[in-house]
Subunit: 152 residues, 2 copies
């Protein structure tokens, strides 16, 4: 357990590389069919006729893909205890079939949790860019982490 | 097309019933395995040992399920054109296997889009509750809608 990141290991200004993944056309249409069946997420034709300018992933799909990178690249290497929410989520650019997304998490703030001396909250800004370096999504996320040494 | 909701049909104070769905244990574990493999979303044992007090859906899964209700219950009956982001998303209560979620969208504000006279932005608060009436998730979402009559 001692090699896991705990609350005390985080500080504002740190940046964590969360790795990369590639999304396929089948995954985009499959996710949208199940969770966000708006026409522009389901076919090239409807996508091309829309503001998105072509078939594009559901924003919830993009966020969920980046969540996978956050979980595998940071949270599952840490004493993460979940998150109460998110704010300022922006979908900045369409995600297309074949895009490779690379994500990172930047630590914004850390603070104790008054009600639970064994926990602290680390707020991170999660960002992801595609293979051309264009940002596709970002959000801010307060995340609970266990402390190595609970406060008195 | 004329029976679709357009920008002009929305006004602050309106509330749209988005319907209900039920989530299974298999769906919770399947989504988490693919998108949010933190232990407390993958097994009863790890869930019970966590702050969530039992196996609970990924917050991204809960949001994606409610997105499906938003798409089928409102956006696909409207001239919806997508959304640039979300804010103030709160995961308020764990979603458990077998839970039935009922969602609604309340219109907060409507405004013209200066750069596109054919579009307007409707900001809704999306909320979902479980079968006991306990709120599980909410967020605020500006959504683009086509106008029936583009502004001059």
């Amino acid at each position: 357990m001692s090699d896991l990141f705990h609350f005390e290991d985080f500080a504002p200004g740190q940046s964590f590389d969360l790795g990369s993944l590639t999304v396929s056309r089948e995954e985009i249409i499959g996710f949208a069919s199940e969770f966000d069946p708006q026409p522009f997420h389901l076919s090239e034709e409807a996508g091309s006729a829309s503001l998105l300018g072509g078939l594009a992933a559901s924003g919830w799909h993009t966020g969920s893909l980046v969540m996978r990178l956050l979980a595998t690249g940071l949270l599952n290497k840490s004493a993460g205890r979940g998150s109460p929410g998110m704010t300022r989520l922006q979908w900045k650019h369409p995600v297309r079939p074949g895009d490779t997304l690379t994500a990172r998490a930047d630590v914004l703030t850390t603070r104790d949790l008054r009600s639970r001396p064994d926990l602290g909250i680390v707020t991170v800004r999660v960002t992801a860019a595609n293979q051309t370096g264009t940002g596709v999504v970002e959000w801010e996320n307060p995340i609970l982490f266990a402390k190595r040494e609970p406060a008195a």
